[in-house]
Symmetry: C2
Subunit: 526 residues, 2 copies
């Protein structure tokens, strides 16, 4: 442990202010001190990234793929020390942290594979028609090129997979953008280990100093300085609506507005259709109790609203759900602030008009712990009260009972933008409620059938984002290979000499990528 800020290949602790790593399970200080970044250190990291960009943006896809794989190897090489640090800083169990490490390495390798396959750049070629009348048509070729240096805010709830070397960093580095990480104060030790791993990988791969930096500080100054910095070209964030919108507003009020992709969570409504809930209510209750409590409910995709039509089937589901919840353990949350907010937001929700608690865990609540609970409210009260759409981050959900199909449609139309909307139904249900399902699509980034929203597969087809307030721009995703598109922009080259074109756009298709040539898809050379 060195406790310093990482500024490219160098470590720096110019400042006098420090932070410590806390174990939320014991509320005790465990490691430190970690030096807080000074203005000069921020400036240096930003300047190094700018210089690094000129080299890094012109690296080959193979060089960047090797870099991402080297990061994965270095992370694995950290062994038990990383697992212990992440566990102790997040109160998440070993199995989860080991799994998350695998996911983190998997993400890095996914982008390495994407770069090697190469077609993601959307190479498009329109060849010249010098004889065209009334004007000759020039040769134009276009592909995605890196945006510039990216500031990544790390998430509290994934100390590895959405943090220092998480999906945002992996996709920005894959795109050819240097990254400056704002370390999470809850995982300072984990951040140090992973930052050092990235730096070692960059050195081994012969990449420029400044391609990666990681800075820490308490308070809001570091984050706002990074977002407002004129050299910053994009920002990635995963966290709360309040946090995301604060960064978004800073970014768009700059002299040069820049894109912020903020994934701000949602309440992920689950709609239980009549035949399904009638025939499998008890099993659904068991499945959903598990989903609600998974990872102490600390997922952006935690199912916060369970929607169904009132009647005996729903009453039985509610009873079964309450029974399941009452048997769930309480567990330590990610940090003191998150635990305090959970209690506050859950209490506020339970005090809303018409909300009744259905059941709660009987387990004793540990230090910084969350006690799972479920509540119930009528659709009428839900529709009248916008507060009930606010996310309660943690193991808490509300059942909404609708009088009939048309009130169910009203509830769907009333929903804010979501990361996910889930339909639990039989084939008959899906046929009967097709209009409801098609309507729900307008409100979400992902529609799930007969599954749970927790669990976000990292793959090409994933959409993790959605209409506001789930994310600041529904046109992008923060999980899966398309996350790279947040940090790329198309550049067109008109009548360019071959040697001045990126390899992906030359006549010879040396990477064998799929290209659109004169509106035809082909992987051949010209």
């Amino acid at each position: 442990m060195h406790g310093k800020n990482r500024i490219g290949f160098n470590l720096s602790n110019q400042g006098t202010a420090t932070l410590h790593s806390i174990n939320p399970a014991t509320a005790e200080t465990r490691e430190g001190p970690f030096s807080e970044a000074t203005s000069e250190e921020i400036e240096l990291a930003m300047a190094k990234a700018e210089t690094a960009f000129d080299t890094y943006r012109n690296t080959t896809p193979e060089q960047r793929a090797n870099f991402l794989e080297a990061i994965a190897d270095e992370i694995l090489g950290l062994g038990e020390e990383l697992v212990m640090a992440a566990m102790q800083e997040s109160a998440l169990p070993e199995g989860r942290i080991v799994g998350e490490r695998g996911r983190t390495m998997g993400q890095l390798k996914l982008f390495a594979n994407l770069l090697r396959e190469g077609s993601w750049v959307e190479a498009t070629i329109d060849t010249a028609q010098p004889e065209r009348e009334p004007l000759p048509k020039p040769d134009i070729r276009k592909m995605l090129r890196p945006l510039g240096q990216v500031v990544v805010f790390t998430a509290s709830n994934f100390p590895l997979a959405f943090s220092t070397a998480g999906g945002d960093t992996a996709s920005a580095l894959a795109a050819g953008c240097p990254v400056i990480v704002k370390a999470h104060n809850s995982h300072l030790h984990t951040n140090e280990l992973v930052s050092d791993a990235i730096s070692r990988a960059a050195k081994k791969c012969g990449l420029p100093d400044g391609v990666f930096s990681s800075l820490a500080a308490s308070g809001f100054n570091l984050g706002s300085t990074l977002v407002k910095h004129p050299k910053t070209k994009a920002v990635a964030f995963t966290g709360s609506l309040g946090g995301g919108m604060a960064l978004y507003k800073m970014a768009i009020e700059r002299d040069e507005p820049i894109p912020v992709f903020a994934e701000m969570g949602s309440v992920n409504p689950v709609i239980f259709l009549p035949e399904k809930i009638g025939s499998e209510g008890a099993q659904l209750a068991k499945t959903y109790a598990g989903s609600i409590a998974l990872g102490v409910g600390q997922f952006c995709t935690n199912p916060g609203l369970l929607i169904a039509q009132e009647g005996e089937a729903l009453d039985q589901f509610c009873q079964a759900l309450a029974a399941e919840i009452s048997e769930l353990p309480s567990a330590t949350m990610l940090n003191e602030g998150i635990a305090a907010n959970y209690d506050k937001n859950k209490s506020a929700s339970l005090q809303q008009n018409g909300v009744e608690q259905l059941g709660a865990s009987k387990a004793e609540v540990p230090q910084n712990g969350a006690s799972p609970a479920v509540a119930r409210v009528s659709a009428q009260d839900f529709l009248a009260n916008p507060n009930l759409q606010h996310e309660v981050f943690g193991p808490y959900s509300i059942v909404i009972s609708c009088a009939d199909d048309s009130q169910l449609m009203e509830v769907i139309n009333h929903l804010h933008g979501q990361l996910t909307i889930t339909f639990m139904g039989t084939d008959n249900d899906f046929k009967s409620f097709e209009t409801h399902i098609l309507t729900a699509e307008k409100k979400t980034g992902r529609v799930i059938y007969n599954g749970v929203p927790t669990g976000v597969e990292v793959c090409a087809s994933m959409q993790h984002g959605g209409p506001f307030p789930a994310a600041t721009d529904s046109r992008f995703t923060s999980v899966g290979s398309d996350a790279i598109k947040r940090f790329s922009r198309p550049v067109a080259y008109q009548n360019a000499p071959q040697f001045l074109l990126p390899a992906e756009l030359r006549n010879e298709n040396s990477f064998n990528i799929w290209r659109q040539v004169d509106t035809e898809w082909t992987n051949k050379s010209l």
Copy 2:
């Protein structure tokens, strides 16, 4: 001429305020009155669009392609009346308007072809792996789906191709989004003819009432009401930096921020490299005088900065350019305001420190006319004065003389974001200045070699946009087939029954589109 607002299939003139069509060449009123939209009329158009969206977003690509082609046919069917209206409202000559009509129809057909080819939706399928450990992998499928209703602001400088049925409208309708047009007060008659044509096409194609509306009003209230309206999901704009930023700020300050694609023009620097300017200076001067004055300089891609290294070759080029410019005609601009701004901005530019006028047209200036002119300034004075990067909309350019290669690099690094940067050079020049060229790429959406920036080909590989302030989001284009991506967002479907999937994502690839299936590109069925 009916002079009414178009609200879906209906015409409406509830209000008492009216506007008139003006002929800028004579400053005379030519047609009217045109009814200004009232709050109730705005509300009705927005509500109709919302209802229409539920049908329109689920039309087949073929239905939308037929609609776009029907619009093109209806526009052609307007014949001489449309050509005369557009000419008299814009002071642009017949050849230009007829050409622009062709371009407008070409754009509509480009999107029709794109829809029929179908691969633009980025269909991505990851099949299930039920046996995967530790967790089964679900079936996930993703494609681009329409965003919702789009507000289109029409541009002054293209009464057809960037207006009522221009590229923004065409791409939004192609994506499956209803469109509400804010008519340009300079082309009220043209707008009426084209709006009626679109409405006839929608009816003929059996599309829902409200898929297209067009509203007119003086002042800022109509535009701001449309942008701030909660039903609006995206905005497209082509025009000035001031206008674009005003809309952008409104859109991001909404409770639900929405994307605004504003293409706000730029100064489109042209860099003349030494061997080229030394050997072909006179020809370059001729070519560029033509580009500067094309369309009375009223193009977003007008070359406003001509950059070269000082010396005899540049002096000779400047002399030749001044001579060419002095022989150019003056011509009427698009409207009184644009003509007044040209005079004001040109005078302001000529009064900046170190700026000397090189030459100006000797022709008499007509009513609302612009007199072409060129000036010269040293790179040192240019670098010291940010005002010299402001666009002067019209036939005016500044030559910037650099002391040496390194000052040329300084000028490139100093440039704001641009739609285009052009390099005029020999092969030797390009080899010698490779670093300059690679640096310039960071500042622009399009790099042009040995051409003029005026002339924006409508094709798949076009990028018309660029780093701020050329556009609000460099990741999108407003010209070419990718313009459709501004109005689409990815939606993922997890474990969806086949019948609830859009046709593009079903096992049977009935449209024969290119899809990414388990990370392989294929146009086969599953």
